[in-house]
Amino acid sequence: MFGLELAMIWAVLIAVAVFLYVALDGFDLGVGILFPFAKSSRERDQMQAAIAPVWDGNETWLVLGGGGLFAAFPKAYAALMPALYIPIILMLLALIFRGVAFEFRHHGRDRGKRWWTIAFSAGSIVATVAQGLILGAFIQGVNIENGAFVGGAFDWLTPFSLLVAAALVLGYALLGAAWLVFKTEGELFTRARRWATQLSLLVALAMGAVSLATLGVDPRVTERWGLTMTSVDWPVFLKVAPLPVAAGLVCFALWRPWKGTPHLAPYLLTVALFLIGYLGLAVSLWPYIVPFAMKPAEAAAADNALQLMLWGALVMLPIILAYTAYVYWLFRAKVGDDGAYH
């Protein structure tokens, strides 16, 4: 009984870590996705300066997500990673390029700088696509027998995972645009506002498409939402209907002209939109940690390991959140077109 509870606590903790990763690294990956739309090299400097002090900390949530899954749910980690081999490696390679580009862009001369500009942007896009493919493949479920992956090397590549990847690129781009609205001023600020408005429409469409497609992944998902091709189970659907309704409202709020609202609002709204999508996913997949194959208690590490880590997490996570918040507060100022914090 206690084991089940510990496993559930850890499932929630890792879910929170992954969500924080998406909300935080999502905006700096999004800025990379928007790089090709910048007007000048100077403007790209400004965009990069808006994320440079915090990107490393953001990416650490990915290490906590991966490392935490290994430590808390070794069997889920062992089942999922081989199944997602190619997209995971693709993501890692892309993250390498964009990660080093932060420093390398400043050190390269003409040709070098141009190359690392492209590497930063392409790396951000490919890493996002890979994460979308991973998410898509995860939702579809992986082919597991006796706790080990038994499927093919390209099981993850389906129209569904491609759709999720496209949606995630748009979603991160929206996070990036909203972050730039918050963090920049001048011409870039105006343009970022336009990007955010345009992207909010596209994201609304993409989220709708992914939601509908997810219903077709597994009958258990359809049942959970009370929706089939031909009928609606109203009592079930009404309980979960607030999620799509809230998503629609948030998209509308992002899209409407919003003169006078705080510049942080679009980013917070976008995070809210991601949270709604995340909760929708939880509704669809609960309580599986490897969809339709493993529940947390079946995949969890030994109780004493979970306990030891829980102490560490209880002490360290508040401290981590406190100094992370402090760093964000320190760099709260807007970045001017000279690339400096004002």
């Binding site: 900390g57 990416e59 490392g67 080093v100 390991a305």
Partner: protein, 459 residues
Amino acid sequence: MEWDALLLSRLQFAFTVGFHIIFPAFTIGLASFLAVLEGLWLFTKRAVFKNLYLFWVKIFALSFGMGVVSGVVLSYQFGTNWSVFSAVTGSVIGPLLAYEVLTAFFLEASFLGIMLFGWKRVGPGLHFFSTCTVAVGTLVSAFWILAANSWMQTPQGWEWAEDGTMVATNFAEVIFNPSLPTRFAHMVLAAYLTTAMVVAGASAFALLKGRALPESRVALRMAVLMMALVTPLQIMAGHESGIVAGHHQPAKVAALEGWWTTRTQQPTVLVGWPDEAAERNHFELAIPGFGSTVNNAAPNVVLPGLDQFAREDRPPVWITFWAFRIMVAMGLVMSALGVWGAGAWLLKRLDHARWYHRALVLAAPSGFIAVLTGWITAEVGRQPYVVYGVMRTADAVSPVPAASVAASLLFFIIVYAIVFTAGALYILRLMAKGPESEEPAPHSDQPPGTPLGAAIEEA
């Protein structure tokens, strides 16, 4: 040898971890060096420390970035390529890696932001605190990684669970396993020496070119001091590490010493060509009996040779043997340079000892070579086990097709080659230029009147 997923995964792990370790080995030492420089600057207000700090922090930023991105790879590779290992050992070493993330990674990443970009936003005291925090973070991170890796070398405090996985019976025993103290000391000292050799090489180069004289003289002295003090400690730590390995991993010691027969008065093989088929060394040059002495064994004590172990239980001898020799040779080079430097310093000739400066430039990569070959000795010497004596590497690999691993290995090689070449180019370019007497702060224009800008004005 078959090019299956196992061999390819081993090559990929060796390549990615070997690439990764170069950067932490350098940045662990560099972070501490920067903390000392900034402390000296705040304390003495001498511009030379400020200029050195601002110069080396740029190199730190480049190296740290490469370390971060190549480290993320490793946290996923346990699962992608070694999923059986992950599933079986997760309950034992998983928490150690989780503690590394919780206690070190976030700390380093967050305070690095302040260290590199916070010049105008925090006062000198808080900035110094950030540098120290990053330095402590690198050491804490090294501790957890060494704890996990040392447990794989000398596992204890665990038992088999019913489902065939390992569970810890005592986490204190898991963390403080027999080889942790010596291996952690050996690694941290190695990192400090690696940095000292790079700092010495870069400063010597600047002196040879007649550039940045005050800064280079100070940095050279700091590096020589580090070399002279740390090489003897490092030889002791390495020696102790070998003694611990002799107790717990006799096959590894037999392989690195090149001992084929079990006997008393084992030799120290200086050079030779180990032949695994013939079970002997060709062209052997050895000091009879000295090997037992080095391994703290009395003349009448029998020390095991490789003949004690079935062929399938032996590590690859040639690689272990030669990696060990290269590491020791680098150690000797570093201690010689430490002694030479200390002598020149005492004779007040350190600034003009041109042959010494040339030797330092040549020896700048010796720390990196020693770290890499040292890790090869430790990890190849652990074979054929992934958890020594408990789990074979062959039983740890993921069910992935060889073609996938071949492709990923190829891409890792290409990407790392590009990133490493560019990174090395930018670092060498900075070093060739050397510190300037009016070193600008990274990523900011330092207007006077801001907290740290003011400190710089005063300095």
